[in-house]
């Protein structure tokens, strides 16, 4: 389809430069890339992920057009693999320390768990920031790369502080945390020598989002508070401690029954509301974030439609259900075959090993299938919708940029991978 659009045919330049974003990618090659990647992932027990991630980024970047020119991703899988290996080596002493601390008695042993979480969270946020730097320095636009300055440790401390505040305020601080962290990131982000900044206001996001909070979080909190207030805690603790056959009866006696049902209603409501409202929330946050991005005098706005986001999630649900039906039929056939196999060959060690391998293999296959569907539907379409909704003004700021900044190592990506906090 892209070959037919005017931009892709040889035309007499200069054509009027479009001032928006465009993502004109055919979806079939992306599906093919992901499905092949999933098969290789299973075959290599995950080592292929560096190559798959690189392929996916290369695809998304190269089909993303900003004001008529495409992005280019110049990172390689080899860099990611090397970054990961270095990160694993760096984390060895940390893990050994935690392993030893877990066995020690007294205060050190007790705080070791909390300390481990805090240190790993700090490492995780550091990794997130440094991984962003890697991706930026591997992103080329009009022959110039982006880059990022600023201390990853400082970012990590700020991020942990804000996450703590979010926890204490039960999520109400989220908009202010986002605004503050985004300001830090963008003020350290450069396209060539053009510095970025972020003008999105935390208060504005708060005012737009507080209704979501009221609908999703408040019922949950009310349910919990009611439950905590209603239950006779000492009686409940006693009932659970003594165990035995009539636990249920004694739990009932602690007035837990009514409290539990109220709590369950509250939690159920919150889960359903969160699932139903998530697309609206996500598109709202995306609009806010994109519209706050600035590079010099270049301003960005986004008119990402809430309906479009709902549509892409619905499409994902539909395909996922279809896939679920196929998996269900396959599982039924598998069980039948296992039963036949059992009666013919008996339940020897080899059969058990085979059955275990098949069970784990099927689980991995199902997990990979859903991940592939998610990436090929939600992620691709969301990227497409987001890029397509971009509008720029002050594009002349991009005309006089000079090259600046050096490439950075992939250590951050490696850390993020080793700590399971990977982003894109």
């Amino acid at each position: 389809m892209s070959a037919a659009t005017p931009l892709d045919t040889p035309s007499d330049e200069p054509a009027p430069v479009p001032d928006g974003g465009r993502f004109a990618a055919p979806e079939k090659p992306f599906w093919r890339l992901l499905i092949r990647g999933a098969m290789f992932l299973a075959a290599t027990l995950g080592i292929y992920r560096f190559w798959l991630a690189t392929d996916v980024r290369r695809f998304l970047w190269s089909h993303t057009e900003i004001a008529g020119d495409g992005l280019e991703y110049i990172g390689t899988a080899r860099e990611l693999l090397l970054g990961f290996l270095i990160a694993v080596a760096l984390l060895v002493p940390v893990n050994v320390m935690f392993f030893l601390a877990a066995f020690s008695r007294g205060l050190l042993g007790q705080v070791s768990g909390a300390l481990a979480l805090a240190v790993l969270a700090l490492f995780g946020q550091f990794a997130v920031y440094r991984a962003r730097r890697y991706r930026l320095t591997r992103t080329l636009y009009r022959g110039l790369r982006f880059h990022q300055t600023g201390s990853g440790w400082r970012y990590a401390v700020c991020a942990l502080f804000w996450w703590a505040v979010i926890g204490v305020t039960l999520g109400l601080a989220y908009p202010f945390a986002q605004a503050s962290l985004e300001r830090f990131k963008m003020r350290n982000t450069y396209y060539g020598d053009l510095q970025g900044h972020f003008v999105g206001s935390g208060l504005r996001l708060f005012l737009r989002g507080v209704l979501f909070w009221a609908v999703v979080v408040v019922p949950f909190l009310l349910g919990m508070m009611f439950a905590i207030g209603e239950v006779d805690w000492s009686a409940l603790a006693d009932a659970l401690r003594r165990g035995g056959d009539d636990v249920a009866g004694r739990v009932e006696g602690a007035n837990a029954g009514a409290a539990v049902s109220v709590a369950v209603i509250g939690v159920t409501w919150s889960i359903i509301a969160a699932a139903l409202l998530y697309p609206a929330f996500q598109s709202m946050v995306l609009r806010w974030w994109v519209s706050g991005l600035r590079f010099g005098t270049l301003t960005v706005t986004s008119r990402l439609g809430t309906g479009a986001v709902y549509a892409l999630y619905l499409r994902f649900t539909w395909i996922a259900l279809l896939c679920g039906a196929v998996i269900g039929i396959a599982a039924a056939i598998g069980f039948a075959l296992t039963a036949i196999f059992d009666t013919v060959f008996g339940t020897g060690a080899v059969t058990q090993l085979l059955a275990t391998a098949v069970a784990i293999g099927s689980y991995v296959a199902v997990a990979l299938a859903y991940s592939t569907i998610y990436q090929a539907t939600v992620r691709l379409r969301l990227w497409k919708a987001c890029v397509g909704s971009l509008e720029f003004s002050g594009l002349e700021a991009l005309g006089r940029v000079k090259a600046s900044g050096a490439v950075s190592s992939a250590l951050g990506e490696g850390l993020a991978d080793a700590l399971n906090v990977g982003g894109i």
Binding site: D8, P10, E13, T44, G46, G70, F103, R242, T356
Partner: protein, 371 residues
Amino acid sequence: MAIAGTAIFFDGLTSARRVVVVELASDGVVVRDAEDRDMLARWPYDQLDHLAAPEGVLRLGRAGAKTTARLEVRDAVLAQAIDDASVPVDRSKVPGHAGRLKVVAWSIVAMASLVLGAVYGVPALAGKIAPLVPLGVERWLGEAVDRQARTLLDKGGSDRPFECGSGQGETEGRAALGRLIGKLEAAAGLPIRLEAKVVRRADPNAVALPGGRIYVFQGLIEKSARADELAGVLAHEIGHVAHRDGTRAILQSAGISFLFGMLLGDFVGGGAVVIGARAVLRSSYSRDVESAADRYGVELMERAGGDPRALGTVLTRLAGAIHPGADILSDHPDTQTRVDVINTLAKPQAPSQPLLEPSEWQALKRICAGR
């Protein structure tokens, strides 16, 4: 005349977007400004780098160059001509080529070596390191494991204390158990002091922790017909202590955690692979360790002057009570195999003098009894 056409050029120094004329000279592409015809770049054919680009765009860079200059050709005829002229172009970065299969093949080799390392390397290494761990460290590990073990074993639900032996009628029984352990300990001559505790659990079993602590379950005492049967199981557990199997198990589990947890980790479904691999590996290590403890138990019983076949007898009796689980996940070898090995190892004319007097055995049986 060489083929020529228009394209877009970025010089890698500024963001200026230039419309250029591309000429295909004999040795490379020549890039000239469309208006003033100044030469902007001259890239030899063998240094042209095909880069990721959307369909219908040929994006070129110069391989090995310091700047990131780019030439974007949208003219299909010109793109084809450049493609034809630059035969040895490096396409290894373009997905969908043999390079990928090579990566996959190497990764599978790497995984195979990881699995071999886990199956053979980790237990070998742990076996070498465990005897080197100082006894002080082992005792310290034992205390840490003890706390975890107790929370695992003590399910609660009983008004009596979990640990038996403190009651009025149990003093004699404790003394008898002490004598039994004493005899075995004297024969074993271990550097670690043994400490046996009877706990209120109905399953017939016993557990040895690092540092010399042995938990004897009440169910085992109940199902043992003679003192030597109990002693046989205790001798087996003392084998674990002597071989420092608890420390070895901790080292092994750390080794597998490292190999599989850190190196595999982060891909969808990877968690299941890690958990499955750990369970299978752990039980395979454990089966070897159990066989070694059986051999030790037989020898120890002979040295202590007891019946070395008693362990086989009690195992046979207990096997009927236990439901056979999945063999690859079971941490002990098949019971019949164990009994056969025990009977082969035991010296044929071993003199069998009961390790405890009948009255002592009766007293021992009363520990935890009367529930």
